[in-house]
């Protein structure tokens, strides 16, 4: 995987101006997405996953502002683009689907219309042709009796079917990048898997890249190639899914892994959730944002923000973690907390 990145996000910093001060939702996030890969972003709710992606597409609410950093899509600087140019990219080259299919579709328009308007906005086609395309997409995402369902309203679909509609809508213009923001969180457990497999299947068929946001590590393990662990608006750990799952290099990642049923053994019992709650992004801590909840927190963690330390990797992808424990000066007893990754074998 050495091809040029499709999307390159660098030091992205997003604030929300509120009456109580600035909410620092995203603090210097950098990552890239290569064509055709699935990047998983995980983190507890409020860690800045959605806002990172919305910032890239310029979809922030009026009080949000990208105060620093850049997002580069195929050589185009998205953060400096005019609204008109951004519009041409949204829904066309980059499409997005959202967490709650119940509220993400307009209740007063037929689903067919919601697809057709997207096609017509980006392609020089007639409404009739757009309708044909919409029908194809409905069949592609496996909506039963697709033809008759185009004229239905969202409330006439079940949650899973609505999410299929959302996916179909995102695929109208063959995007190069699909951002899926917690696409399965709001669905029944049985439906979650179907949607996930559908996404994976479509990705293989159409060859697009996907950013898959979730707070469920199990989902990532199943489909993603690479993973970005976010906490307090920052990247805590990033690397190949194999590396991160086999040898997590950050106490937060370890905590997340401990708090889900083991993805490998498929054990069903709930394990220990991380105690404590995420930091207040109005006044984030000066040092490591995870320090108040970290079992290994040290004096150093409170005083300075740890940088990303490069870690040994079994897979070709760089593996990095933002934790002081990886500093050269750290006593050996502490360094031993993290198991070294196994030797590279493919």
């Amino acid at each position: 995987m050495s091809s040029a990145p499709l999307l390159k996000v660098d030091n992205l910093t997003t604030h929300f101006h509120t009456s109580r001060g600035d909410v620092q939702a995203v603090r210097g996030v950098s990552f890239d997405v290569k064509p055709g890969e699935i990047l998983g972003i995980v983190g507890e709710s409020g860690s800045g996953k959605s806002i990172t992606c919305l910032s890239v597409l310029g979809l922030l609410k009026a009080n949000g502002e990208v105060v620093d950093g850049s997002a580069d899509f195929e050589g185009k600087q998205l953060t400096g683009l005019s609204d008109k140019d951004l519009r041409a990219i949204r829904g066309d080259d980059i499409a997005m689907i959202f967490q709650d299919p119940m509220t993400s579709l307009n209740p007063t328009l037929t689903v067919g219309e919601q697809l057709i308007e997207t096609i017509v906005a980006h392609k020089p086609v007639s409404r009739g042709e757009a309708r044909k395309r919409a029908l194809e997409l409905f069949e592609l995402v496996k909506i039963p009796s697709a033809a008759s369902r185009l004229d239905n309203y969202p409330h006439e679909f079940s949650g899973g079917m609505r999410q299929r509609v959302m996916i179909a809508m995102a695929l109208t213009c063959d995007p190069k990048l699909l951002i899926a923001d917690e696409p399965t969180t709001a669905l029944d457990v049985t439906i979650q898997r179907q949607i996930l497999l559908l996404l994976k299947d479509l990705q293989e068929k159409l060859g697009m890249a996907i950013i898959l946001i979730t707070h469920d590590l199990g989902v990532i393990a199943e489909v993603a190639d690479r993973i970005l662990v976010m906490y307090g608006g920052m990247v805590m750990e990033t690397g190949d899914v194999y590396d991160v799952f086999e040898s997590p290099q950050h106490p937060y990642t370890t905590g997340l892994l401990d708090s889900i049923p083991d993805v490998r053994s498929h054990k069903k019992e709930r394990l220990t959730p991380i105690p404590g709650s995420p930091p207040d992004m109005l006044r984030p801590p000066e040092g490591c944002p995870f320090a108040p909840r970290c079992p290994h927190a040290m004096q150093q963690c409170l005083e300075a923000m740890p940088p990303l330390f490069e870690r040994p990797n079994a897979k070709p992808t760089v593996h990095e973690a933002r934790c002081w424990l990886h500093h050269d000066d750290a006593p050996d007893s502490l360094k031993a907390i993290f198991k070294a990754p196994e030797a590279a074998n493919g």
């Binding site: 519009r87 041409a88 579709l105």
Partner: protein, 298 residues
């Protein structure tokens, strides 16, 4: 449902009016008992109450609201027919103002949330909601008609005569609808499907009108029925202040004359009209919100 409501209104009105102690002619002291008896007989008031009720119902079925008790030879139908054009014209114009000004003002305020446009519109609208229509009407009458002679003080002989009554009549509801439109649109703008629409790369205008306004209109449309109702009752004082010969003026006059059949007749006329309006609003509502249709079907 509508018919049932209307029937209940007629019944309630009829018995309320007949619950008034003494007959309609007792208040006139000079009437000799024989004459009063004769009058009672003439208007069928000597019959048992249920018979009067049935014949009144019968009359309504043939669109006959009976005679006026105070103007000999005049029927309530005549009073309504005479006043209707004036009331309908001012009412319609006021309704037009409410919708055609109130909604756009609300949109402008919502789109410029917390900027000067919003603050100004909301300040004026808050004033409009707080100042009672008759106070507004009187002040306007004094300033524009008496002080500055810009418009006539009464009558609708030329178009300028409409300005003050229509403004006074619509003032409150214009402000109310502007406030409602603003909050409704703000609510819709915060919905997830608006982010979806933006994420699809649609034109901002399409997003605002096709996705935003269409949804924001739903709560606005639901209150339009009551708005019509209140414009009507509002017209009682407005017609009185500006001396307009509308139904409202007849109504207020009939109240001070204790002309019971007219009070009853006009109330029922209003109620029937309102039922009609609410029916229309319901139809409009179904067009706007597809979820309703399903609920009605099942």
């Amino acid at each position: 449902m509508m018919a049932l409501t209307l029937f209940l209104i007629i019944t309630l009105t009829f018995f309320l009016m007949h619950a008034i102690p003494g007959g309609p002619f007792t208040s006139e002291k000079m009437l000799a008992p024989e004459i009063e008896a004769a009058l009672n007989a003439k208007y069928g008031l000597d019959k048992p109450i249920w018979q009067q009720y049935l014949s009144y119902l019968q009359g309504i079925l043939t669109f006959d609201l009976g005679p006026s008790f105070k103007y000999p030879g005049v029927r309530v139908n005549d009073l309504i027919r005479e006043g209707l054009p004036v009331t309908a014209q001012t009412g319609f114009l006021a309704m037009l103002c409410v919708v055609a000004l109130g909604i756009p003002l609300g949109i402008v305020a919502a789109l410029n949330q917390n900027k000067w446009q919003d603050t100004t519109i909301m300040a004026v609208a808050t004033m409009g909601v707080a100042i009672p229509s008759y106070v507004l009407a009187t002040i306007a009458l004094y300033l524009f008609a008496l002080q500055w002679n810009l418009v006539p003080t009464f009558g609708l002989d030329d178009w300028r005569g409409y300005i003050l009554p229509v403004a006074a009549l619509s003032g409150f509801w214009l402000s109310f609808i502007a406030r409602l439109s603003r909050s409704s649109l703000l609510e819709v703008l915060g919905q997830d499907y608006m982010v979806t629409a933006r994420a699809k790369g649609l034109h901002p205008q399409t997003i605002l009108f096709k996705h935003g306004m269409r949804n924001a209109l739903i709560p606005i449309v639901t209150v339009l029925g009551p708005v019509v109702a209140n414009l009507l009752t509002g017209s009682f004082v407005i017609e009185q202040i500006f001396a307009l010969p509308g139904i409202g003026r007849h109504f207020v006059l009939s109240i001070s004359n204790r002309d019971y059949t007219t009070i009853m007749g006009i109330t029922i006329f209003y109620a029937a009209f309102l039922m009609l309006m609410i029916l229309i609003v319901d139809l409009l509502y179904m067009v706007l919100d597809p979820r309703i249709k399903l609920a009605e079907k099942s």
